[in-house]
């Protein structure tokens, strides 16, 4: 079904709420640190931060099991952390160190982690969707009971591979959970300037795929929508398109002057900051006290410091190893 308006959800019990908050905060603080480290040249290349969108990865990831596969984009710090890849190996990767999750070969855009079935951040927009379809096909053929979660942005919806992949996944009845993080912009191009039909979840009908749209600024809404969606995929073995309506608070990347949207618009959205909103709700419900938050921040701060220390301590891959992993043999 397609719901244009986000479904509103009953609220949660304490531990659950604190877990969601902690995961969102870990991402927020990690990326704030990354931006700082980028500015002093410790991190290079492209850096696409997820700040403002944390509820999407955190909420969605809770619907997945360790057996499920994940395909992400170049804006994947959030997905990687929410999936449980140690912060240190991510930070080391962004430093380009050998102890990074991709041995320094990938950087911010290309996190990989085999033990956690994290099949990578893909930097060609739309390029991850066919990979996800193939992973799901492999599972189906091997009778593995797992689904493949495929993250992509609203901009990817315009690419031909979106169309081809949804058709193939539906045609072959493959367990793919398509997760569209619709932050209303593809770089500087607003949704209404790249989509003739701006309701992305509605596009699923063209493939006979079930879909839903959820409030991507609300971790609880995302989580329960993801639970429903993942449930459907597991039950039916068919794909599902879940659109998460969210917003990017920072520029597209460290290279983006952000000229294409008004400060107003950004400020309006910041009023819906997934973390502060969620904090407020927890407080209202008396599920969160100042002390909790302080200790939470403290623990996260410590984790980040360790991560940076680990990255700093990491060694560089020897130059002789340059061509090591081009071929397996």
């Amino acid at each position: 079904m397609t719901t244009k308006e986000p479904v509103t959800e009953p609220f949660v019990e304490r531990q659950h709420g604190l877990d969601l908050l902690r995961e969102m905060l870990r991402i927020r603080r990690f990326e704030e640190k990354a931006v700082e480290l980028y500015s002093i040249g410790k991190i290079r290349g492209f850096l696409h931060v997820y700040i403002g969108e944390e509820a999407c990865a955190v909420g969605a990831m809770r619907a997945l099991t360790p057996e499920d596969n994940i395909v992400a984009t170049y804006r994947e710090h959030g997905q990687a952390l929410a999936r449980g890849i140690p912060m240190g190996s991510l930070m080391a990767e962004m430093f380009g160190k050998a102890n990074g999750c991709s041995h320094g070969h990938g950087g911010s855009m290309h996190f990989f982690d085999k033990p956690r079935r994290f099949f990578g951040g893909y930097a060609i927009v739309g390029g991850g969707l066919p990979i996800a379809v193939g992973l799901a096909l492999a599972d189906k053929l091997q009778k593995r009971r797992a689904l493949t979660a495929c993250f992509f942005g609203d901009g990817a919806v315009a690419e031909g591979e979106f169309h081809e992949s949804l058709n193939l996944a539906a045609l072959w009845e493959l367990p793919v959970l398509f997760l569209c993080e619709n932050n209303l912009y593809a770089m500087g191009t607003a949704l209404e300037r790249h989509q003739s039909q701006t309701d992305i979840s509605l596009k699923a009908q063209a493939y006979g795929i079930a879909s839903e749209a959820a409030d991507g600024m609300d971790a609880i809404a995302v989580e329960s929508a993801a639970q429903r969606a993942a449930g459907t995929v597991r039950q039916t073995g068919r794909p599902f398109l879940l659109e998460l309506r969210t917003y990017r608070f920072r520029a597209h990347s460290t290279a983006d002057p952000d000229l294409y949207r008004t400060k107003d618009e950004i400020e309006r959205w910041k009023k819906r900051d997934p973390i502060t909103m969620f904090e407020a709700r927890l407080r209202e419900m008396r599920l969160l006290a100042d002390a909790d938050l302080t200790s939470l921040e403290a623990r996260i701060g410590a984790e980040i410091n360790e991560a940076v220390a680990l990255a700093e301590a990491g060694s560089w891959e020897p130059i002789e190893a340059l061509s090591k992993d081009v071929y397996t043999t």
Partner: protein, 325 residues
């Protein structure tokens, strides 16, 4: 040795059947590989024998079914993807260059992509400008993949078996004019060593270097030249990437002359790479500059006489060689 007469097409099918029988992870997907039997009838009968789960007709979605092949390989399967022809492979080139070829290195060695992609290549059938490309040279430029171009019935079977033992992506280019080619082969034979080029005809006067669909023409030219007292050695590259430079160089060091025959457009052809490597590896042994016989630099015309004029021919090979003496 059970010698058996079969066509190039049947030899590929024989390898496909063996792989499908012996490895449950192997499956074949591509446009019309099932009910139609394959655009070149390579997979004819396989759907009936192995069923629709393992012989999968795909929609016209080159980028996605090739990408799905990559994903399935990551997921533990051993996919064989058929792209109907190289002309359509451009639609999948992003998946090939940016994903298949990079994933192992980019992931720091965590993931391999054991994928085999087969496609028909080449001209000569009056299919005009959009259906006559020879782009295997482009593929040979890509680190992270291997590129094979079997030119004989035996290789058609044995090189596919070898490809299926590779842990990394392998691209096999089958020249469309070779499918009906007949030969006697050992159907019980296993894979061949794809790291080695093959000397198809020993000789002393000049080295003719070629691969795939140009081998028959080149061997014919060699016979013509023999009549005229020039005894060429013919080297079939077989594998374009990684290239067996050693075999090329040792032949050239013996003959002191080389002509490269390649159906691709001359400028930027793989023949240029061969020429450059001979320059780099056997410069002092050369009695004459390495020559290239390639296709004219035009979109392939439909008309027979024009297409023939555009492609390498026995006569053009012969005269290129004679110009060297």
């Amino acid at each position: 040795m059970q010698a058996k007469k079969m066509t190039y097409r049947e030899a590929i099918r024989s390898a496909l059947r063996l792989a499908l029988k012996s490895d449950p992870r192997v499956f074949l997907m591509g446009e019309d590989v099932g009910r139609y039997g394959g655009a070149f009838a390579v997979s004819l009968g396989l759907l009936e024998e192995f069923g629709p789960e393992r012989i999968r007709d795909t929609p016209l979605s080159e980028s996605t079914f090739v990408g799905a092949g990559i994903g399935a390989a990551l997921g533990g399967m051993r996919p064989i993807v058929e792209i109907m022809t190289v002309n359509f492979s451009l639609l999948a080139l992003d998946q090939i260059l940016n994903n298949a070829a990079t994933l192992r290195h980019m992931s720091g060695g965590q993931y391999s992509v054991p994928l085999v992609v087969r496609m028909a290549t080449g001209g000569g059938r009056q299919l005009a400008a959009q259906h006559s490309h020879s782009l295997e040279g482009w593929y040979a430029h890509i680190p992270g993949i291997k590129v094979l171009a079997p030119a004989t019935v035996e290789d058609a079977r044995a090189m596919l078996l070898a490809a299926l033992e590779e842990p990394d992506p392998v691209f096999i280019f089958e020249h469309a004019t070779l499918y009906p080619l007949e030969g006697e082969i050992d159907e019980t034979a296993g894979p061949v060593d794809i790291s080695k080029a093959a000397v198809r005809k020993p000789g002393s006067a000049v080295t003719l270097i070629t691969y795939g669909g140009s081998l028959p023409k080149t061997l014919q030219a060699a016979q013509e030249l023999l009549k005229e007292g020039i005894d060429p050695e013919v080297v079939d590259l077989r594998t374009l990437r990684p290239l067996d430079a050693a075999t090329i160089l040792s032949s050239v060091k013996k003959t002191h002359r080389a002509v490269v025959i390649d159906e691709a457009w001359r400028t930027g052809s793989f023949a240029a790479e061969i020429s450059a490597q001979i320059m780099e590896g056997a410069f002092d042994d050369l009695d004459a500059p390495v020559a290239r016989v390639c296709s004219a630099e035009v979109p392939m015309p439909y008309a027979k006489h024009l297409e023939e004029a555009a492609l390498p021919r026995v006569e053009t090979i012969v005269s290129a060689v004679k110009r060297m003496f």
